[in-house]
Symmetry: C2
Subunit: 340 residues, 2 copies
């Protein structure tokens, strides 16, 4: 009989008005204890389930958060999602999720559908494609909270950020390779022409080279979508260079896994012939052969903070969190082989 009944039926059963049912169920402190008990008993016996949608519409603001990610399998997925979900659920929020697959049309459709649901907030993994202007406008004018995660905070915007310094992290990884004697260092970069995070990592790489007095060689940089096959192909291209790099920094673990595979196929030992490092510290990279040296951030924490920021009232100011990142040393990086 759990046929989606409403408060009116509970009210009838408990011999009170709908208003009292609403109060008893949602703010019990405003109702006499025995009444609360009676209402709860009635609701229980009827199998009543609160209709969050109806509540939302009346209050004008919803308790739904929209989450947009470029791809599943990315670092965001996993721990960040868990962090978001844990905080959201505890606060009575639901998360509606969408994957853009680096596709403008998908992204636009997803954003539209989320706005149609009147999401209270949008959590994004970076400002991508052509949405930036629109999102900005929504954040400043329509009272929509927008939280960008995995990017370094940009001050002075109406948008919140929960991330870390991608540029600095990439610089530190590159310096680590330089310190081991590498001076020809390949970079398999993410889509830096469109994704800020990827661009920052490229810049961090350049910072490190510059700091070490190594000239920047554009031939050593390949721009790819962060996935396995792209990493493999990029690595093959890098290894086919006349003077091939002795180390390759892939700015995403997926790319690095692909690169490892390419090295293996080419009969190159890692790190004997060529070092490979990644970025994100996906769970699986510790299980690779060799295990991957990578850059780790507290993805769960990013998720928690993002959700906290997201569920704040619309009028609240934007928040800016910048977390630390840690270099995780594993077996895929070694000293530069002699004579290179």
């Amino acid at each position: 009989m759990e046929k989606n009944l409403n408060m009116r039926e509970v009210a009838r059963q408990a011999n009170v008005s709908v208003a009292t049912v609403s109060r008893a169920l949602r703010s019990p402190d405003k109702v006499a204890a025995p009444t609360v008990a009676r209402v709860q008993a009635a609701a229980e016996s009827l199998g009543y389930v609160y209709n969050a949608t109806a509540g939302d519409i009346l209050k004008g603001r919803s308790t739904v958060i929209g989450l947009l990610v470029p791809a599943v399998g990315n670092a965001l997925f996993g721990e960040t999602l868990h962090g978001i979900q844990d905080v959201a659920l505890a606060a009575g929020y639901s998360v509606i999720q969408g994957t853009t697959r680096y596709n403008e049309t998908s992204e636009a459709m997803l954003v539209d559908s989320m706005l149609q649901r009147r999401v209270h907030a949008l959590i994004l993994t970076g400002m991508t494609y052509n949405m930036e202007a629109r999102i900005q406008r929504l954040a400043s004018e329509a009272g929509l909270r927008v939280v960008v995660v995995w990017e370094k905070p940009v001050k002075g915007k109406s948008i919140s950020y929960v991330g870390f310094d991608n540029r600095d992290a990439a610089r530190r990884m590159t310096e680590h390779l330089v310190d081991l004697g590498h001076h020809r260092i390949g970079l398999i970069a993410g889509p830096y022409s469109r994704v800020g995070r990827a661009r920052c990592r490229l810049e961090g790489y350049r910072d490190a080279l510059q700091g070490a007095g190594i000239p920047f060689d554009p031939d050593l940089v390949i721009e790819r979508h962060p996935d396995l096959l792209d990493g493999r192909e990029a690595m093959e291209a890098l290894m086919a260079l006349p003077e091939r790099p002795s180390a390759v920094f892939a700015t995403s673990d997926l790319l690095a896994i692909g690169a490892l595979k390419a090295a293996r196929s080419l009969g190159l030992s890692v790190p004997g012939d060529v070092s490979v490092s990644g970025f994100d510290d996906l769970d699986v990279v510790a299980y690779m052969n060799p295990p991957l040296t990578t850059m780790r951030v507290d993805a769960y924490r990013i998720g928690q903070l993002a959700a906290q920021v997201a569920i704040e009232p619309a009028g609240n100011p934007a928040r800016h969190y910048c977390l630390d990142s840690d270099l995780v040393l594993r077996g895929s990086v070694g000293p530069c082989p002699k004579g290179t």
Copy 2:
């Protein structure tokens, strides 16, 4: 200016009634073309965004689907999610997602929050824990569509299934190992005491042994949650057995990746000393060293079908799809070494 205005304001701007706005925007064929144009222009100029929530509440049925998965990183994630999303989005549905992490409390909370949103359908990855009775009841009485994916259809229920024959697939994988001469075959199984899918795979393993006249040895079976560390530990336990198996079938790729790592740590070559096979065909397993022999299903298709079934009207009958699965031969499985 995009301050969440409503149809009334569009109506005023276009000099029509709200009802006409509603019709012009949602079913333009019922309105005169010039009026439609005028309304659309008004909506456009005001930056009006349709409020799907308000529409849902009135119609009594929502255009939201709830998706419950045990863990991100699982095979379901990735392609199945994409399949669901593509179909849902095209039909104007949103997906609210929740990860249970094999935790009863999380699962119960997530289901509650989805019911509070009056989701039109629930897509589940198996009937887990104590929810089964409740879900059954909701499906049959409350007009909620329930779709279980990745499980073999069970006839005669009010619940839809989109899956494949896990038992048969596991049997075929085990037979493949038997055919290569293995007769002591370890099984790293999923949580079969609670998850039907995992139980079926265990049964398929037993079917194959029985078919080959190999006695079942419970010491060779280890039950674990499908994740990397569990796979590693289980493999270590299996390899420490007095008479260790010459092949290990891990019923999830994550477990298999862990097993590969364990073998490497123990100095065992795969497949020289021990063969390892997985299940799911996660993208990454083709990139392992050695690449993993595994069982693949069309996860994207499962997602598409699941969403199609989910968005059917509540009164429609349950659907049952059983897809094929394919053995994917890669390098992690070889013939049984002599003398074992």
